[in-house]
Subunit: 578 residues, 2 copies
């Protein structure tokens, strides 16, 4: 038995409350090393007198299920509903060679009666409190998102376009170009989006800012004048809500734009500025430094996003800054009834601030969805009191590596995905914000070198996972584009230039997603066939008596997939034949 | 290379800020499997142009130090001060057989240039925020605690003793006995405690309650009348502070006494009681159930501590309960200037409540010490926004197993301790509340079957560790006693009956602890000789150019311990000889 590989941590993604009655428990062992794991558990205070008139701790024993395998590990799982919401538990492992051992809070012990009846050797989950549960808004699970980069969706009101506006789609976008996209442009296409089937829109920043991407905010309280005004935005929210579409905005709270009145005051008044504590300033006067690199200058006298002088970092530990940002966060909910906040550069802002943000925002409206921009392992922002979700780029990466760029084989895909899913609690996986591309990456069609079949597979695979999937504007009509700024091309509205086949495919996928939403949100994932040779992948999502079975053939050849129809009633979900 | 054993988790005890400039990074590998680990690190946004005019990520490389070994694992450590408070990092492992591999956020990769320059493969620590630091009051590190069970320390005011009071020390205590100990009794002996050298007193509950232990609170706003009144308590705090002694009280917030007005109102008025939401009630009328076990009755119609009907569990998610308890928590600081709160059954109260508690208490007085009663792995209460410390029973257990009960050998002791220390951040280990016994355990002298030498070794070893050590009243004069109620015997004040030798030993130990406090708080622990045969244990604590070296001989025979005096200036700290 490879004891050094065994891992379990109480009060983590290895032992957490799934709902107010249910605990989930996992344990990790070396791949193929262990033949069975049983779970020994009971209430920590439940003792009864035995024959010798001595009190004895009461425990039960159940087999755990092997739910996931990676290239290095097996993961074992069990669900339990402790009668008194308290849990004391340990594990009995039996290796492939028949060796047995007890594993608990004190590590490995001999499997003997003495150990099994000694509470000291066991792990504890002291009390399941509903208030400490990770809870995301229920609507998120049935939402299919559509991300819009407003400057590039449609120009609905040319009278407010920037002076230097370029004709729509007249060229590939450069970093400084404006094409006049605005909020009215989005309103004009809400019926298009409803027809497509999406029921959530994530908007890149819309507050006043000089750039086309608006991540360098000037004023968080006003809509950028080239995008519209508050009345246009109110109409956008209302018209969206009428169509059952929710609206999520982008909050850029890590930094502010260097043209903002706050930063300009610091530049002008230096140490006398009332805003000097709003930033992380190392010395006055604030200087932009000398040596530039890809991200800016490393000799800045103040902290910025990356090394970008245009984006001075806000001091979110400062009470005034907190009051300012929390008022903004609640203002747009209170006054305009938005449904979600996507948080830019979320991992570089302090946890203490996000906890206050979570509290303030949910107090204003109790089902707002909070999504952090975190590209990597985000476990400690997803404990229930900060974010509901993150932009799930590790999933993106695994899908692209296999379906788009052929960098990994089928087993590596499964290993990478299993490892990622095992990092988070199931509650979290059920509401992650899943995407193939965004304003920050090359577009999926371009990564696939124009191979539509690959894009369709990747999209279908994305839609087959837990979480709520997002389509980056234009993917549904075959928009392409390399890394920023090319991934921010103007949306194509000329029907003749749209890819109708891709549109119908996407629409169908969205419809299926909604039809089978419950099983796709909550169903257990089971890998059935994972074939490196043929690059065929078969898996099912299972909930109660229902299963959805998926067949992906990412190989070069057509293959017959055997379907076991014995005693099972089934339909072909894609073609609606039986 | 046993890759399945390798473990690292960003934003955890494996990667955390130690102070506002410094990060600590650890990685775990299989015992004796890896010959070297190097740390590859840099700022995530720091790129420079290389010869081919392409931007390249700048990283550095340093060897990590193997700081701890357990029976299964090696732990490697490095400290780094990231210039821009951001860190991107990975590890290069070389196995004993010379195999090398890169380990990062995506798991293991081939050690090749492509990997080393690809930020995607690296772990991140996005930004070091001072506000998110784990910070405990600085005074805790130089504090030696003395725990007093007030009913048994001294009867300083017989006029307020309970009617059924027994003559002091006239018998071994039963669970229901009263001996008349009170606050005046403590005041009377403050000079004794100052002479002993302790500078912190932890008091078991002193609020009004029917039992002798007072864990079933009647009224959190009044001092138990048999212990004194608010003026006596104010005097106790003031007289203690005059002598440089801090006072920590016991907050029993998980449950209230069943005789409290709140619970009695529920019993009387049932669903009409204004307090019905203060508890976890499953059905009315509240009944105490039928089937008793060691802890009470499992058919209760309400939640309690364990299954004890006398201790109905408070609903700390209820706003009124929160206001009530937080006012109590701040009242005793505001009005009486107490220095610490020890939190009873802390792990069964919700995290959300403790975060509010932490905030409220530190806002009232910014250096109050918060210690949770948690007997097991408490990592997620020790993240910086709940507790500063826990009662460190896993350390107790390891010391007793080796020094007192000879259950484990020297290497097992070291393994158990290393494993425990590695679980927490160093900031946490520096302020844990370390103890050998308490009102909840048998006394150390009794566990040692009266063997004083063993007790002295265990005490000395406890004092040699990071954290702040606590002496349970009477240990210093040889008080013994088995499990509750026998561990709560009356303090012996008759000099002739006190163990003077133990007193002098304890006093000397405390003095040494204070003299070498800095190195004992912050010095790195290094095991030098760990001999299972002779049961000899040698280790050092090292800080800067100073080392304290400890020799413990827990075996049967006297042994000569070789001291390498070459070129080192040293003193015998115990005998003050050189």
């Amino acid at each position: 038995m490879e004891k050094s590989a065994v891992y379990h941590q109480p009060c983590s993604a290895y032992a957490y409350p799934y709902d107010k009655d249910t605990m989930h428990i996992k344990i990790r062992t070396k791949k193929d090393d262990i033949q069975s794991v049983s779970f020994i558990y009971g209430d920590p205070f439940n003792f009864v007198k035995n024959e010798e008139n001595k009190y004895k701790w009461i425990s039960q024993r159940k087999y755990m299920i092997k739910v996931a395998q990676t290239n290095l590990h097996d993961y074992w799982f069990i669900e339990t509903k402790p009668a008194f919401r308290r849990l004391q538990y340990g594990f009995v492992l039996i290796s492939s060679e028949g060796e047995s051992a007890f594993y608990g809070e004190r590590g490995f012990s001999k499997l003997e009666k003495k150990t099994l009846i000694s509470p000291d050797y066991f792990f504890k989950f002291p009390f399941l409190h509903e208030v400490d549960l990770f809870k995301a808004p229920e609507w998120v699970k049935s939402t299919v998102w559509y991300q819009i980069f407003p400057e590039r969706f449609d120009n609905g009101n040319p009278s407010i376009s920037p002076k230097n506006v370029l004709p729509w789609g007249s060229k590939n976008p450069g970093t400084e170009d404006f094409f006049g996209g605005d909020l009215q442009g989005i309103i004009n296409h809400l019926d298009y989006l409803k027809d497509l089937g999406v029921n959530g829109i994530y908007l890149n920043p819309i507050f006043e800012a000089p750039t086309n991407h608006k991540y360098d905010t000037l004023n968080y309280y006003s809509i950028d004048p080239h995008f519209g005004d508050k009345e246009t935005f109110r109409k956008l929210v209302q018209e969206s809500h009428k169509r059952g579409i929710r609206i999520m905005l982008d909050a850029v709270f890590n930094h502010i734009g260097s043209q903002s009145k706050q930063w300009q005051d610091v530049v002008k008044n230096e140490e006398k500025s009332p805003y000097k504590e709003w930033f992380h300033i190392h010395s006055f006067p604030v200087t932009e430094g000398t040596n530039g690199n890809i991200e800016g200058k490393t000799t800045l006298s103040f902290d910025t996003f990356a090394f970008t002088p245009k984006m001075p970092k806000l001091n979110t530990a400062n009470q005034e800054v907190q009051n300012y940002l929390l008022d903004i966060a609640t203002y747009w909910i209170r006054e305009f009834d938005i449904d979600g906040w996507r948080l830019d550069v979320a991992n570089e802002v302090d946890h203490a601030f996000w906890k206050k943000f979570h509290h303030a925002v949910l107090k204003e409206k109790n089902d707002v969805y909070i999504v952090g921009e975190i590209w990597h392992d985000a476990w400690n922002w997803l404990q229930g009191d900060e974010f509901h979700s993150v932009m799930n780029y590790p999933l993106t990466q695994a899908i692209i590596d296999f379906f788009i760029e052929d960098k990994i084989n089928a087993m590596e895909l499964v290993s990478n995905l299993n490892q990622h899913f095992m990092k988070y609690m199931q509650n979290v996986n059920e509401v992650t914000f899943n995407l193939l591309d965004s304003h920050d990456t090359a577009r999926i069609l371009t990564r696939a070198k124009g191979n539509k079949k690959k894009v369709k597979q990747a999209l279908a695979f994305l839609f087959a996972q837990s979480g709520s999937p997002c389509i980056y504007y234009g993917t549904e009509i075959g928009l392409d584009g390399d890394n920023d700024p090319l991934c921010r091309k103007c949306m194509i509205w000329d029907k003749k230039k749209q890819d109708e086949d891709m549109f119908l495919f996407t629409k169908k996928l969205i419809a299926l997603r909604k039809k089978y939403q419950q099983i796709l949100s909550n169903g257990r994932l089971k890998w059935i066939l994972v074939d490196n040779q043929t690059r065929i992948l078969t898996f099912s999502r299972n909930l109660g008596q229902q299963s959805l079975v998926f067949y992906f053939n990412q190989g070069e050849f057509d293959e017959e997939v055997p379907i076991n129809k014995n005693g099972i009633s089934y339909v072909n979900a894609w073609n609606e034949t039986s």
